[in-house]
Amino acid sequence: MSYPRIAVLFGIVLSVIIFAISTALYSRGSLSDQNSSKLDSFGGHTPGYPTLQTTGDVLDPTSFVINPKTAVVEPMKYLREFNYGKLSASSNGTVIRDFTIIASDQQTKEVSPGVFYNVWTFNGTIPGPTLRATEGDTIRITLMNNGSKFHSIHFHGIHPSEMDGVFEGIAPGGKFTYEFTAEPFGVFPYHCHMQPLEEHITHGLYGALIIDPKKPRASADEMVMLMNGYDTDFDTENNFYTVNGIPYYYMHHPIQIDKNRLIRIYLLNMLEFDPLNNFHLHANMFDFYKTGTKLIPDEYTDIVTMNQAERGILEFSYKYPGKYMFHAHKTEFAEKGWTGLFLVKEGTNQSINENLNVTLTRNSTNYSISDFNNTTDLVSTGGVN
């Protein structure tokens, strides 16, 4: 009986072919299990999570540093960089501050390790430069449009209609000088106000303007923190959240501050799509000055929540050295990049002296003692306020 035998053979051959195909499809995958000379470790940042070894490439946005040449911003530089403009005086003695801002919209830069996005920028970075003036100064900002679309700068604050950057767009190749008196003191966002507004903002055309009161605030370690996000796949949901432009940057580059030194953060929210964003400080409390337009704090807290374009000033100092997190207490944002660290070091004598100075020169703030159980804590924090 040859026919069943042939059929059996046929069945066997078919099974072999089937097995060969399926094995071939997976030979590639199993190759990587072989040992190689190059082994990298990854994972293990979180307690309880394993550290594994791989022969392949490691993806780790929480600890990778972007090459500054391709990065959309250097967050450590941005943090404490204030542009005071080119100073001159008018005939009546008013200080004039001249700034130049170049808008562009055709660059592709790295916004998170390995992720490249078409960024629209003021002066080549997201966020744009932090402009700083004193109340009463004349601010002159020349916007040069180096992009392919109409752009403008709309400043928050008080100024004439034609300086509002809404109805007059600057054509590609064109330029315009915005001129107004710096008033009132406070923290203000600036951003492009061309339509579609959402597009111009989410691509990165924004920054901070700080107007100092005539009588300066107390000396402090000052920094700007601008909260934003990137929707890199254009589904009107942010893929990344950051403070100062690059996700997780301050996790691998903690912000170094001195113990007991007054820290002042100018905090702004320019996050698109998500209605809320917030800032939470670990193991500490801060005075919060809403919009920065008053010298008396509105709140003593460890979290502040902001809508888009809301901003304020935070003041605090750390009592104990060590590492302290700050992050959005919307945990989704925190776990998509909006997380950072302060590294508090034993302060130098100078900073302690400054701190004492601050205590002497500043108005004491009235707190209801019943809100707090620990009076000594209140006193020591109150000393900073």
């Binding site: 009986m1 059929a7 499809l25 990854f42 999570y49 791989t54 490439d57 993806l59 992720v115 893929n239």
Partner: protein, 437 residues
């Protein structure tokens, strides 16, 4: 290919001109390709980067603390993986063999993550242009490891789901042999109904996998039809050759008794019918066994696909294999044994050992399928195997139909109410037992 030319001496020597005429279009195409590739600026601006496409083909959960995603670049151009996330939260990860994938290349993304059994997870992969691709896993479950213990578990499942039901079905053999012609036709067409159901079921299931899991780049839906048709015609060819060869070899000692209907002439491509009656008798002897063998193979392929599905379901954490589910499969697959023995009812008695071999061919692949599906699950392989199974099954249905037609004296099939009833009932049985699975 047959070349139909009268002058045979010319056909052996193909002239240079013929070759030239055959090659000219290729030269033109080649020139065009070279021109297009070397002057991109002239005709087509390539400033727009094609959209990336990644398929996450499988997600495995290991050791309570690691998630492994198997990804494939199914887009038109090379891509680089930038980041990985779990439930839209970015986590450190590793890509093996490397983060840059050429077209259709695959990679393993390993994410250290403490996962919880039974909870849903979405695994996301972000490419260097910021596009995110997600894959939802409904219920996390420890991936089966290719250990002896796990392999034996799958073998046991395969035995219960594949081999035992088929063997039970084979036990209908003596019953089928005692049936009258009409009742025999009834059971043959019942078999055809069962098989048509299985074939359609395989096509639908592979279509579902193609749509849900496979990237459009694979053109998987047309692949299903293509593979099924190619399998069908190939098996038709193979079975015809098997019958022809067997006819030539076997001696004219025939046990077949014409019994109920054998007046027909064979229609097959045997044009040199010098001894048509002998050839017919041989065919009537041989074909039932050949058909049964083809049914075994076809059902074997089907059960291989079923095994893949069971293994993959365990792997993907989609089913907890309960005794009830196994009972359902058993009832469902018992009908497959019936399908194997039905054509042989009126032929010479088949030794038990041969029956067992057929049963193993039909049921055994379930085990193989469960192993491959559980340890090496691949949606594209599953789609291909299911399509092969569907093609094989339709070939068997054709053989049964053709066999019934000839044994009925070429009086047609659709005018016999036994056949129609059997066919309908066969499908109904499959549908109802299928509800148990």
């Amino acid at each position: 290919m047959e070349i139909e030319e009268g002058n045979t001496s010319n056909t052996h020597r193909v002239s240079m001109r013929t070759i030239l005429f055959g090659v000219v279009p290729f030269i033109v195409i080649g020139t065009m390709i070279v021109l297009l590739l070397n002057s991109p600026g002239i005709l087509f601006q390539s400033s727009i980067k094609p959209l990336p496409e990644i398929s996450i083909e499988k997600v495995e959960f290991l050791d309570d603390s690691t998630i492994v995603a198997f990804v494939r670049n199914t887009g038109p151009s090379e891509i680089t993986i930038a980041q990985a996330d779990v439930n839209d939260r970015i986590y450190p990860a590793a890509v093996e063999p490397g983060r840059t994938l050429t077209r259709f290349a695959d990679a393993k993304v390993i994410i250290p993550f403490v996962w919880n059994t039974g909870e849903p997870y979405e695994i996301g992969i972000t490419t260097d242009d910021g596009t995110r691709f997600g894959e939802m896993v409904n219920s996390a479950a420890e991936a089966p490891r290719p250990t002896v213990g796990q392999a034996s578990t799958f073998a046991l499942i395969g035995t219960y789901v594949g081999i035992i039901p088929v063997m039970i079905g084979l036990a209908w053999y003596p019953f089928i042999r005692r049936l009258s012609p009409n009742k025999y036709n009834f059971f043959l067409s019942l078999t055809a109904g069962l098989l048509v159901f299985l074939g359609i079921d395989a096509l639908l299931e592979s279509n579902e996998i193609a749509v849900d899991t496979l990237a459009p780049a694979f053109n998987a839906q047309i692949l299903i039809i293509m593979v099924a048709i190619v399998t069908l015609v190939t098996l038709l060819y193979v079975s015809q050759r098997l019958i022809q060869r067997a006819s030539k070899r076997s001696k004219p000692e025939i046990e077949y008794k014409p019994g109920y209907s054998s007046h027909s002439e064979p229609d097959l491509g045997t044009r040199n019918t010098k001894s048509s009656s002998r050839s017919l008798q041989q065919q009537l002897l041989i074909r039932p066994i050949a058909i049964s063998m083809m049914i075994s193979i076809g059902i074997g392929l089907h059960n291989f696909g079923e095994g893949l599905a069971i293994g993959a379901a365990v792997l993907l954490g989609e089913v907890a294999l309960s005794s009830f589910l196994i009972l359902g499969f058993t009832l469902h697959n018992t009908t497959e044994g019936l399908a194997i023995v039905a054509p042989m009812a009126k032929s010479r008695r088949i030794p038990l050992a041969k029956l067992m071999i057929m049963g193993l061919i039909a049921g055994g692949p379930t085990i193989l399928g469960a192993w491959i599906g559980g340890f090496l699950y691949s949606p594209i392989a599953t789609v291909i195997f299911l399509s092969i199974g569907a093609g094989a099954i339709f070939q068997v249905v054709y053989s049964i139909g053709s066999w019934m037609y000839h044994t009925n004296g070429s009086r047609g099939l659709l005018n016999n109410h036994w056949i129609i009833m059997g066919f309908a009932l066969g499908m109904l049985i499959m549908y109802l037992t299928g509800l148990l699975v």
